[in-house]
């Protein structure tokens, strides 16, 4: 976030971890279908939602994002068969832990979005951006605030 940013022109920055096989394709489809969604998201492609470890999420908040979304294939559809089942356990726990240390729970989300769900991708990131806009900038866990 730029130091010049003021509260009047603040726009949330949202990091989306998208799995290569489903959600990234879903985002691609949203684009190809000319579906409009807020430009606040930054997509980071990962091989599998199971690749996202707790450190990635924490580091994102440290470095100034206002929200994080981890998205991957629906359970049962993982390219690596079971990766997303581990993701589900890990982030069910982590979401509660982040809430426990005072982060607004809306700021960390996980979703299943398949390669054919372009409209769902649009819907999820639009909703997330709206929610985070309503919350305002995240100062918690920020490094060098």
């Amino acid at each position: 976030m730029s130091v010049k940013e003021t509260s009047s022109n603040w726009e949330p920055k949202i990091l989306v971890f998208a799995c290569n096989w489903c959600t990234y394709a879903g985002a691609d489809l949203a684009g190809l279908s000319r579906l409009q969604y807020p430009p606040n998201i930054r997509i980071l492609r990962v091989p599998c939602s199971g690749r996202v470890n707790p450190q990635f999420v924490l580091r994102a908040f440290q470095r100034g994002v206002d929200g994080v979304l981890v998205a991957g294939c629906h359970p049962g559809d993982c390219h690596y068969v079971t990766g997303n089942y581990f993701t589900r356990r890990r982030f069910l726990l982590m979401q509660r832990l982040l809430e426990y240390v005072g982060l607004d729970p809306e700021r960390f989300q996980a979703r299943w979005i398949s390669g054919s769900e372009g409209p769902k991708f649009q819907e999820v990131v639009t909703k997330l951006t709206e929610d985070i806009k309503a919350l305002g900038p995240n100062r918690k866990l920020r490094d060098a605030q």
Binding site: P54, Q55, L58, R59, Q62, P75, G76, T82, Y85, F86, R88, R89, R90, F91, L92, L93, M94, Q95, R96, L97, L98, E99, Y100, V101, G102, L103, D104, Q109, A110, R111, W112, K140, L141, R142, D143, A144, Q145
Partner: protein
């Protein structure tokens, strides 16, 4: 406990004299009456140093990691929580069972060292918090058992019947998000990142901890609330499902940070989300975050 101390010394002498083990890990009296640090006894004539009293907090299983590439056997005394730590180290493939002679001892609970310091030798010193809540005071794995097994089992049964205690976690959960954040930031602002909590922890048994990997820069050198919380939350997630509630991290912390309040939150949630589970009780290769169930709760649709 006097009697157990004598039995300990006797067995240690025997094992060393016969040459069955090279070293015996136990506890000895420290600088102050409320300290009983680990003792490493390798000569039969030194066994008199060994004690078992109200302050044998140190979890000795973690020290076995130092012997895993050495020739010969090692004997170690295990309380209930130490035996769960041994199991976790077995589970994580850090130790070979055959290399260690395990001497189980029932644990009546250890006394709070901080309170002891405060109240003095004649004061009425309460048990440490983790011991008040302990579900498994008796060793779960052993080759020898010292003391009266039957009496120890009966004492343990009454403890096990007691429901898990999470009132401190629940109280924390009730706070607003800003209150929680202020609480944890003020705690971790004090952390000096000495990593004592990690070094003492049996679940922290990685060959190279991510916090030591300076080139990848997982953690910054700056000591501030953000970096320190990154450390705390990452470590909490790493030991989730493997933390055996020995409370050693919190005891070792020189800054008195309530680390168990994080660990217990994760234990509570693991129990709620994925079913009843106590780490280090069984060695069956099934860890809460190392496997899954297709019917796990679904909140991410």
């Amino acid at each position: 406990m006097k009697e157990i101390t004598l039995q300990m010394q006797e067995l240690a002498r025997e094992l060393l004299q016969k040459g069955e083990v090279n070293v015996v890990l136990g506890w000895e009296k420290g600088t102050f009456w409320y300290l009983s640090p680990p003792a490493f006894v390798d000569k039969p004539e030194d066994v008199e140093r060994l004690v078992y009293d109200d302050y044998c907090h140190h979890n000795l299983s973690k020290y076995l990691m130092d012997y895993r590439y050495q020739e010969g056997k090692v004997a170690v005394f295990l309380k209930g929580c130490d035996s769960r730590a041994f199991n976790i180290l077995l589970e994580d493939n850090q130790l070979e069972r055959e290399k260690y002679v395990l001497i189980g001892i029932p644990c009546p609970g250890m006394k709070d060292q901080e309170k002891a310091k405060e109240f003095g030798v004649n004061g009425d010193i309460p048990l440490a918090k983790k011991c008040q809540e302990c579900k498994y005071p008796n060793p779960l794995v052993y080759d020898y058992f010292l003391g009266d097994k039957k009496a120890a089992d009966e004492a343990a049964a009454t403890k096990e019947a007691k429901a898990k205690e999470y009132s401190d976690v629940e109280q924390m959960e009730k706070m607003t998000s800003d209150e929680k954040y202020d609480f944890w930031s003020s705690q971790y602002e004090r952390c000096i990142r000495c990593y004592a909590c990690r070094n003492v922890c049996p679940a922290c048994n990685c060959r190279e901890c991510i916090f030591d990997q300076s080139r990848t820069g997982w953690i910054g050198k700056a000591n501030n609330a953000s970096e320190n919380q990154f450390f705390a939350l990452t470590r909490a997630m790493h030991v989730a499902g493997r933390c055996i509630e020995c409370g050693e991290c919190e005891r070792a912390c020189p800054m008195h940070i309530p680390i168990m309040l994080l660990n217990k939150k994760l234990i509570k949630d693991i129990n709620e989300l994925f079913g009843e589970y106590d780490a280090g009780v069984k060695v069956d290769g099934v860890l809460p975050l190392g496997h899954f169930d297709k019917n796990d709760p679904e909140e991410f649709m």
